[in-house]
């Protein structure tokens, strides 16, 4: 199986590569269009600020490539947020794969949310074997509001979408690569997806 982690300069790529290694697979870091198109699974990471990450994505031309991919794609954290229509952070236009916007948390809770929180209302093959209310590690100041692409929800002052799916595109707000055994299981489920879209 060929796994590509999109390398566009934003994100904790090593951690994802190592997490995949711990599952017994190897992942390639790449920003090459052909290599990405030929992969069986694509991971789209992201850490940092939305507008500058989007600029880096545009600089590599990958903003045009990602929405047209046909294999399973997993956006993680900011990766997921950039797959949405719009991010309030930096007034950033997203890739529009998910039909929803990314908004800033109200200051009723501490921002950023940092730590382990529960995911529930799980609705996807990537959550096979994962218990409702399992804990995942999250670090973020912006969230996706509930919508019909949500495949997991989390509560932090409000209830928001902590995972999304639209056809072959998956997004998780949490960091499966940093979420202990349960996170590893979700990553493994994604890598083992055999569905046709």
């Amino acid at each position: 199986m060929k796994i590509v982690i999109i390398n566009y300069g934003a994100g904790n790529i090593q951690s994802i590569k190592f997490a995949i290694q711990r599952l017994g697979y190897e992942a390639v870091l790449s920003h090459d269009e052909e290599e990405i198109r030929n992969a069986d699974k694509v991971i789209f990471p992201g850490v940092g600020e939305a507008s500058s990450a989007m600029e880096m994505l545009k600089a590599t031309g990958l903003d045009k490539v990602i929405p047209t991919l046909k294999q399973p794609v997993l956006g993680i954290c900011l990766g997921m947020q950039l797959m949405c229509r719009y991010c309030e952070e930096g007034d950033t236009k997203g890739l529009g794969i998910f039909d929803c916007d990314v908004l800033k948390f109200d200051a009723t809770e501490k921002v950023p949310q940092i730590g382990w929180n529960q995911i529930e209302n799980l609705k996807s093959a990537i959550f096979e074997g994962i218990n409702e209310k399992e804990y995942m590690y999250l670090v973020h100041s912006y969230y996706v509001s509930l919508n019909n692409e949500a495949i997991a929800t989390t509560q932090y002052g409000i209830t928001y979408a902590s995972a999304l799916q639209e056809k072959n595109f998956y997004g998780v707000q949490f960091h499966p690569e940093k979420s202990s055994k349960a996170g590893a299981k979700i990553l493994e489920n994604f890598l083992k997806l055999e569905v046709q879209y």
């Binding site: 190592f18 501490k110 690569e177």
Partner: protein, 251 residues
């Protein structure tokens, strides 16, 4: 529900784990990667590695250690100690660290906080503040608490938040090493003052101290070293005890 975090801290010197009692006497407590894996398996929510190496090779040694930790450990970790530039941080994050912690360098050059937040995002910028009370006033100290400044703790905490810190790691030098409990009054005040998470550090001696710092101190996370390194407290026991006290924890 977001849980309260338990964070073992590993002091690192030349790639080995040490623990400073009041930051002066050091005792060897093992291989950092192995220890980190053990803590991750035992239910630690995060780890902090504090590098106190003073040699010229420190940057390279630390980056290598970070890479080894990232390879083995499946929970988030923060690296601190001697970080003074955007370039330092870039190396550590690229090696697999999730967050970095800056302390004296932020006091000397507060703009560093803004620069790091702009380049890497607030979520990976932890500002560590060491303070102790002088004539009833909490004052910021540098160099592991040895050098006093004329900066007030609460003013500095507010400033680091405004400059883009994602989290504050507050160590009370009056409590560190005493095992008499955390500085809960100051912690509670801090927690109300700023709207970013506060990690309590300094003074953990028993399980009740953790309960107290989460309830009275309103801390979001609690950090400790020797009580974990010397097995005085098992993380799983601690979390069960916290749960009995209705404190949300990941079990």
């Amino acid at each position: 529900m977001l849980t309260k975090r338990i964070i073992p801290c590993l002091d690192i010197k030349n790639g080995r784990t040490v623990k400073g009692v009041n930051f002066v006497d050091l005792r060897d407590a093992g291989d950092p990667v192995e220890l980190a894996e053990i803590y991750a398996n035992e239910g630690a929510d995060e780890l902090v590695f504090l590098d106190i190496t003073a040699t010229e090779q420190r940057r390279k040694t630390l980056a290598e250690l970070v890479m080894h930790v990232a390879e083995k450990v499946n929970i988030p970790f923060t690296v601190g100690g001697g970080i003074s530039s955007v370039e330092d941080v870039e190396i550590l994050l690229n090696s697999g660290a999730d967050k970095v912690s800056i302390n004296s360098s932020a006091v000397k050059n507060p703009q560093l906080i803004n620069d790091l937040a702009a380049k890497f995002g607030s979520q990976c910028v932890v500002v560590a503040i060491d303070a102790k009370q002088i004539n009833g006033e909490w004052m910021v100290h540098l160099v592991g608490g040895k050098v006093p400044t004329d900066i007030k703790l609460f003013d500095w905490a507010k400033e680091v938040e405004q400059r883009g810190a994602g989290e504050i790691l507050f160590t009370s030098m009056d409590h560190d090493g005493t095992k008499n409990g955390f500085a809960n009054k100051a912690l509670a005040y801090l927690s109300e003052l700023v709207n970013i998470p506060i990690i309590a550090s300094g003074g953990a001696g028993n399980m009740q101290h953790f309960t107290d710092t989460f309830i009275e101190g309103k801390a979001d996370a609690a950090l400790a070293a020797s009580v974990f390194h010397f097995k005085e407290i098992e993380i799983i026991d601690l979390k069960n005890e916290l749960k009995r006290n209705n404190i949300p924890v990941r079990l």
